[in-house]
């Protein structure tokens, strides 16, 4: 049985912050390039949903029977994230979900688990999603080097675009990079010590062992995907393991930054978008040990190359010019609160209404055909009771019917709210907040799609829901 990658997607947030903007705030040297920044309504859960949704262009969401979520910055310390991701992705009920955490190789560990599950026959189509929004100490190199992003890889045995040849993992115990409970920022040991005894040792060991195990020669491998904490660490590993710079896959450290658990998978997605059938890809990631994989690309890879979504997310971006807003977006600097919310959240109502709130389901009357959002038990058009089919709406696009740029509704760190009423091709109306807009470009008729976001924190938990956003187009 051929087991391997059946779909792949990566997501990069719209906002990019030039590293010199951070450096200027601290009157220190700038590292070259820019970093991606999750919006104030994004986190490691919402970005995971974005990447997962890309995969559904190539695998049916109803075929997914296992979902693995990986992050070191999950928005809850205790509470499954994979269950929310599964709901937002509108996956079927009764699937296996699991959360991987604590190490930057959690994404590849989840991938290996997914491959093992499919090989063992316990899952037919397993989806791995990884996302991170890590915080370096203010003024540290990491603050500039880190970036926010997500990646998703589906694994199965049908429609395989990159077949697994083999994998090899090592585990190494070392206190090199760590974050204590309740800490916001990541701690690092002495630089040469952690590089030499941590990253370099584990990565070279795993890569060499995998090459030996599979009997592969360096020159047989076209793309070498090596996760990298800094701008050049991956090229050092490549050199130590006998690869030439030409074989090394771009890390996007100058465009995105080190996006933690998502980084190796995001680089893998990029490699797939750029590969040719027959190519061999080596993937290696680090985090208290290393995971290494060899994949062989098949003809099926063309399906993601027709519409390379990672490339599109990489190239569509918006500058963030403010270091203070960067801190505010991440909750590191709390701006003055705005008007309090006067409707109080309820976790029982949130649970009860999750088909609308998390899955973005509407109802379509089986008697008269009227479609509406959210679910209405009694048809607004013909009055029939409980005669409807639930309809999945989150993949649709809609056009703005009317809107208002509301200066009163927002919080001080997210001051502008575009109250939006949009209409899709079936006449379903959506009342949603808009995100990632340019206030001068919001217009009646503008095309929007749906994106899963944080709405607010009330009731001491996070309320996630959908927003609409102008379709991200290159050049914007």
């Amino acid at each position: 049985m051929k087991v391997g990658i059946t779909a792949a997607g990566a997501y990069v947030p719209n906002y990019r912050l030039k590293r010199e903007t951070i450096a200027r705030a601290w009157e220190r040297g700038a590292i070259k390039g820019e970093r991606s920044v999750a919006n104030t309504d994004e986190d490691s859960l919402t970005m995971a949903v974005e990447a997962a949704i890309v995969c559904f262009s190539h695998v049916n969401r109803t075929d997914i029977d296992a979902l693995y979520y990986a992050s070191t910055t999950a928005p809850y310390a205790e509470k499954s994230i994979s269950s929310i991701v599964a709901a937002a992705c509108d996956l079927k009920e009764g699937i296996f979900t699991a959360d991987f955490s604590n190490s930057t190789k959690a994404g590849t560990s989840a991938l290996r688990t997914a491959l093992d599950a499919v090989k063992a026959g316990s899952a037919q189509q397993a989806l791995t999603v990884a996302a991170d929004c890590r915080n370096g100490y203010p003024k540290s190199d990491q603050e500039q080097l880190f970036g926010d992003a997500s990646a998703a890889v589906a694994v199965g045995s049908k429609g395989v675009m990159a077949e697994l040849i083999d994998s090899y993992s090592v585990t190494t115990e070392i206190i090199d990079i760590w974050r204590n409970i309740n800490e916001k920022y990541i701690n690092y040991g002495e630089g040469r010590f952690i590089s030499e005894k941590g990253y370099m040792t584990a990565m070279t060991q795993a890569i060499k062992a995998l090459l030996k195990k599979t009997g592969s020669k360096n020159e047989e491998i076209q793309k070498v995907v090596i996760a990298t904490p800094g701008l050049k660490d991956n090229s050092v590993v490549a050199k130590k393991t006998g690869f030439s710079p030409e074989q090394l896959q771009e890390s996007y450290m100058l465009e995105i930054g080190n996006c933690g658990t998502a980084q190796p998978l995001l680089m893998l997605v990029a490699a797939l978008e750029q590969s040719s059938p027959g190519d061999t890809i080596l993937l290696a990631s680090y985090g208290n040990g290393a995971d290494a994989f060899l994949f062989r690309v098949t003809d099926e890879v063309k399906k993601i190359q027709a519409n390379p979504r990672f490339k599109s997310y990489l190239e569509t971006k918006k500058p963030l010019d403010s270091y203070s807003r960067f801190l505010s977006f991440r909750g590191l600097l709390e701006a003055v609160p705005g008007e309090p919310f006067r409707t109080f959240p309820s976790n029982s109502a949130y649970w009860r209404e999750q088909k609308g709130i998390l899955r973005l389901h509407g109802s379509k009357c089986t008697q008269c055909g009227q479609a509406i959002f959210p679910i209405n038990r009694i048809c607004n058009a013909c009055g029939s009771k409980d005669q409807f089919d639930e309809i999945h709406l989150s993949d649709r696009t809609a056009n703005v019917f009317t809107f208002s740029i509301d200066y009163l509704a927002g919080r001080s760190d997210d001051p502008l709210v575009v109250q939006t009423v949009a209409e899709d091709g079936e006449g379903v109306r959506y009342y949603l907040l808009m995100t990632e807009f340019d206030k001068n470009e919001v217009k009646i008729g503008m095309e929007v799609n749906f994106t899963f976001r944080r709405i607010y924190e009330g009731g001491n938990y996070i309320n996630y829901y959908w927003k609409c956003r102008p379709v991200r187009k290159a050049g914007k």
Partner: protein, 394 residues
């Protein structure tokens, strides 16, 4: 069914509106109720039932307790509603129906709101009904959706549309200068309105009404015995109450420039009152100018202006104090602010005084008044209430 000429208003009272830091809800209720008692020549012992309109003050779920505690009614029915901005009208119309039914002869309708104890800011930030679907729904942000769509539908540029609604703000502020009980006494120019900070596009600060505290009260009695209480009772000619079934934001096919609730509540009231041509038969109207665009849309849904032609009437001064159909002659919500449950009865207080030629400042008295209308429009919006009154039977 009609209650035309079966019920009369025998007395009314209205507190001063504004940021009444000196008063609680009970003090405001006392201020309006005792003016109404004196006006009707009755006392607390004559009241057989009380209908209260009160939305927050300071929270929901208080029954009519704040009013009862202040006014010391004992062992009579007190029925409170919190039907958004229409709560005052709902109380008033309920009181009329209670008298028309024959159950009571003398009842009180009282609207009161003490918003400034609830941390409400200067503008109505009223929140949605669902904490997730409507997490950041605001009143300006909802009514602004009408403006964006109205301008689009009738081909008005932002500048043309803004100027048309600005003239409504200018008119109401000018009228409010003549109303001693109003919250705001400040004349504004079109330029002031256009230059005011944007609140929810296309609505700027001066397109929005403010929040204030206030109370208003009516004593309702049988029309056939009303003249025993006073020589000039005001007769209820008709009413309409209508609620749209679904949040307008979610309603398929909804055009956002005309609300069924506005059309049906006004047409029901006209039908009951025997009005066929409201543009010419209504002599003075107090309508729900929570935002200037709301008043503009109401002109059309109430048949004051032809569809899409409100701007022409605004430009011609049709609704100004000396125009053919003066609207919001006391300055409206724009100048009184909007203590939610009190507003409908405050508006009715104005038309009551107009119909009696007893307005507290004769400079805003409209001449030749026979039929007058008061109206509130509430919620996201979904609910509309209209009352038509006259100073003679028939």
């Amino acid at each position: 069914m009609t209650i035309k000429d079966q019920v009369a208003i025998a007395g009314m009272g209205c507190s001063r509106f504004g940021e009444r830091w000196d008063c609680g809800a009970g003090d405001l209720a006392i201020e309006s109720a005792y003016e109404a008692y004196e006006d009707a020549g009755v006392g607390p012992k004559d009241i057989e039932a009380v209908f209260v309109g009160q939305m927050y003050a300071p929270v929901g779920g208080l029954a009519g307790a704040q009013v009862i505690d202040a006014l010391k009614f004992n062992n009579i029915p007190v029925i409170r509603n919190e039907n958004w901005c229409c709560a005052g009208h709902v109380a008033l119309i309920s009181a009329c129906m209670a008298v028309a039914s024959g159950a009571y002869d003398v009842v009180m309708a009282l609207g009161v709101e003490k918003l400034k104890d609830t941390g409400f800011p200067g503008l109505g930030a009223g929140r949605g009904m669902n904490p997730v679907y409507e997490a950041r729904r605001t009143a300006p942000g909802s009514f602004a959706l009408i403006g964006t769509r109205y301008f689009e539908q009738y081909g008005l540029t932002m500048a043309e549309g803004k100027e048309a609604i600005a003239k409504i703000a200018v008119k109401n502020h000018k009228n409010g200068m003549l109303a001693p009980k109003a919250h705001f006494h400040r004349e504004v120019t079109v330029e002031d309105v256009l230059k005011a900070p944007m609140i929810a596009s296309p609505l700027g600060l001066l397109d929005c009404c403010g929040n204030s505290d206030g109370s208003a009260c009516a004593i309702i009695t049988r029309a056939d015995t009303a003249k025993k209480l006073r020589p000039d009772p005001i007769y209820i000619k008709g009413f309409g109450m209508s609620m749209d079934a679904i949040l307008p934001h979610s309603r398929p096919g909804f055009n956002w420039t005309s609300f069924d609730a506005l059309k049906t509540s006004s047409s029901k009231a006209y039908e009951m009152a025997g009005i066929k041509d409201p543009r010419n038969e209504i002599d003075v109207a107090e309508v729900h100018d929570c935002f200037t665009i709301t008043e503009m849309m109401i002109y059309e849904d109430f048949g004051f202006s032809k569809r899409g032609k409100a701007k022409e009437d605004i430009d011609a001064g049709f609704f100004e104090l000396n125009g053919a159909l003066p609207v919001n002659v006391d300055g409206g919500l724009k100048c009184f602010g909007h203590p939610v449950g009190a507003s409908g009865i405050r508006m009715t207080y104005e038309i009551y005084k107009q119909l009696q030629y007893k307005v507290d400042n004769p400079k805003r008295q409209v001449k030749d008044v026979k039929r007058a209308l008061s109206h509130t429009f509430g919620g996201p919006p979904q609910l509309s209430c209209v009352l038509v009154a006259g100073n003679e039977k028939g």
